[in-house]
Amino acid sequence: MDSFIQQLINGITLGGIYALIALGYTMVYGVIQLINFAHGEFFAAGGYVGVIFLSFFTGLGYMETHPILCLTASFALAMMYCAYLAIGVEKIAYKPLRKEARLAALLSALGVSIFLSNGLMLTQGVYDKAYPSELFQGGFSFGIITIGYLQVLIVCLTGALLVALNLLVFKTKIGMAMRATAQDKTMSALVAIGSNKIISLTFGIGAGLAAAAGIMVGLYYGSVRYDMGFLPGIKAFSAAVLGGIGNITGAMLGGLIIGMVEIFGAGYISGEYKDVFAFIILIGVLYFKPTGIMGENIDDTRV
């Protein structure tokens, strides 16, 4: 029983991480229907910039005096950096292809992904980078169950971002404009919505979320690596689709389900087949509900 609860906690944490990445993924998808292969790389870049700033602050000695401030600043700077990166990437590699076949942008996104991960490798070295911070390393202990502060933080952050994003998308004018751009770009222009700005904004927010996820992962696992974006990218994509791609709450749900299935699959059935279980659940769900758990049944605008 104890180990079951521990596995449940593990599952929620891993699911939270997937959800965090999937949120950005699904936002970008929701607006321009692009499978952004490079999202995983934004995530990795976020992790790297996070560690760069954290080490920088440590080097300056601020880390001991104002740890929370430094951490917040690193988060903010990394998110800004990734937003900057993503907006530029969108302008260079995706925008000129917006009117072309959808798969053209997909291929370009793949090129960006390869380019960015190798760029990170070349600028940051082929070795893992350790997170300097010992922040939040402790945890609560109940008998043999341990809950790290970081696990709590990951879950809280994911929850908070979910709420914030839902508010942004459903309660603000910008959110409405995002949804409108997603549905009909020409018409959006006819009601004075600059779709380029909205798309840039979406990319910025999506990449910012990815950066936040990157730092969380770096803190939680203790290191970052140039190719860390690839697998979580696929998992986050799966999570986003499972939840109904374009749907923010769905992405969260999808992330949690995939995380849980992986942990329980590894914990109780077999470690090497855990991804198989995740994919079988995915296929099963999509078989009975071809548009994902929360997906709407209007798919005429897709493909």
């Binding site: 920088f56 292809l97 942008a105 990170l120 799966s238 791609i245 087949y273 198989v276 605008t301």
Partner: protein, 406 residues
């Protein structure tokens, strides 16, 4: 010249500044709490110099200042092209064929090896073309069928000692069955939902290959796969046959070439057949196709099965050639690469896809000299190719498919 291209210059300048801003945090902020600019500026100036030269050439070319050079080239190629166009297509085709046949004789081992890869990937790419290009179903797990074909031959050969020519159709068959298994549950899905499910299937196949120790020997792979054996008539003491193992790369090349040509012919036939038209109808509008009496279920399944068969054949040949199979050859990235070949080629013309395959197999080889920068440049090339030829290297005549509805 500067005035004319003011906009492009401006964009270029902004891009370079953006890049500088991008590089600095990665290179200029140090863990000891110091900031530096030297390294960033160094790296940046290299990039700047490189891109600037390319850019100048691009501008000069665009403004027509290279005409003294390009014009004759274009003219001659135009003339050549006209001659080619004027020739009956059999001449053109046989010229290509002769070129393909003498290629290994003219060149060395390494080009032959790379071209064998190209030929195998042509089979894969054309198989995928049936699924993606014709039927419009986004498939991110195509490499799984390749894997199934390769493992079918490897297992049958190593464990049961069955020869290549028996296993070859069996590899196609198992891949076909795998295709149907994948196809069946996915037929209800469309677009990206389909993509993720095929991705899932591809990964499931890879993970099974990696973990089913008793059958596939897991990550160790299967060693000692025999190459193709053919019966060769021997004239000594009457007419007898002996088995001749195709060990030399040059000989093997011809088998790959034959398979590729067969695939090209088969896919061309499919393309212009009833099946091809039905698949295209499904791609353009599934509902309408169904209303017109196209059995979409059957045809979509058929598309999967056919795509898988070609991949399976290619897989068997791959196993025979490597004499070794391991799950590393069948990763998700390979699937994406095959898809990229199809997309890069223009998605709906067979020569285009062949060109896409050649580009994506040969380019990483060309970039081998760059060592660690190899994949970086490759990624960049992919982006640039897409930006300059967004509808593929050879754009399709009917390019309506898969467009975003505005």
């Amino acid at each position: 010249m500067i005035q004319e291209f003011k906009k492009i210059w401006k964009q270029y300048a902004i891009t370079m500044l953006w890049l500088l801003g991008l590089l600095w945090p990665l290179l200029g902020i140090h863990p000891d709490g110091t900031l530096s600019f030297k390294q960033t500026v160094n790296v940046w100036s290299y990039i700047f110099a490189g891109t600037f030269i390319c850019f100048i050439f691009y501008i000069i070319n665009k403004s027509g200042n290279f005409e003294f050079f390009t014009k004759p080239v274009v003219n001659t190629s135009q003339k050549l092209g006209d001659i080619v166009q004027a020739m009956p297509s059999w001449i053109w085709k046989s010229a290509l064929l002769i070129g393909a046949i003498i290629y290994p004789i003219l060149t060395g081992r390494y080009p032959t090896d790379v071209v064998i890869n190209v030929l195998l990937y042509i089979c894969l790419g054309l198989g995928l073309y049936v699924v993606v290009g014709l039927a419009g179903m986004l498939d991110l797990g195509h490499i799984a069928f390749y894997g199934v074909g390769a493992y079918t031959y490897a297992i049958l050969n190593v464990q049961y000692g069955i020869g290549f020519w028996v296993c070859f159709p069996l590899a196609g068959l198992t891949a076909c069955i795998a295709g149907c298994i994948v196809g069946y549950p996915t037929l209800r899905m469309r677009g990206d939902y389909l993509a993720i499910v095929t991705l899932g299937f591809g990964e499931i196949v890879r993970i099974i290959l990696n973990n089913w120790m008793s059958l596939t020997n897991g990550p160790n792979g299967i060693l000692g796969v025999k190459t193709i054996g053919i019966l060769r008539p021997v004239m000594e003491n009457g007419l007898t046959f002996e088995i001749f193992w195709v060990k030399k790369l040059e000989y093997f090349y011809y088998f790959a070439l034959a398979l590729a040509i067969l695939t090209i012919i088969a896919v061309t036939r499919i393309n212009f057949s009833r099946i091809g038209r039905a698949l295209e109808a499904i791609r353009e509008d599934e509902t309408a196709a169904e209303l017109m009496g196209v059995n979409t279920f059957y045809y979509k399944l058929l598309a999967y099965a056919m795509g898988a068969v070609f991949a399976g054949f290619a897989g068997a040949l791959f196993a025979a050639r490597m004499k070794f199979v391991s799950p590393e050859s069948f990763t998700f990235l390979e699937s994406v690469m095959v898809l990229s070949m199809v997309v890069l080629g223009g998605m709906s013309s067979i020569p285009g896809i062949i060109l896409g395959v050649i580009a994506l197999i040969v380019l990483p080889e060309v970039f081998r000299e760059l060592e660690s920068y190899r994949m970086l440049v490759f990624g960049l090339t992919m982006i640039i190719m897409m930006l300059f030829r967004p509808s593929g290297l050879i754009a399709a005549k009917r390019k309506k498919m898969m467009e975003t509805k505005s």
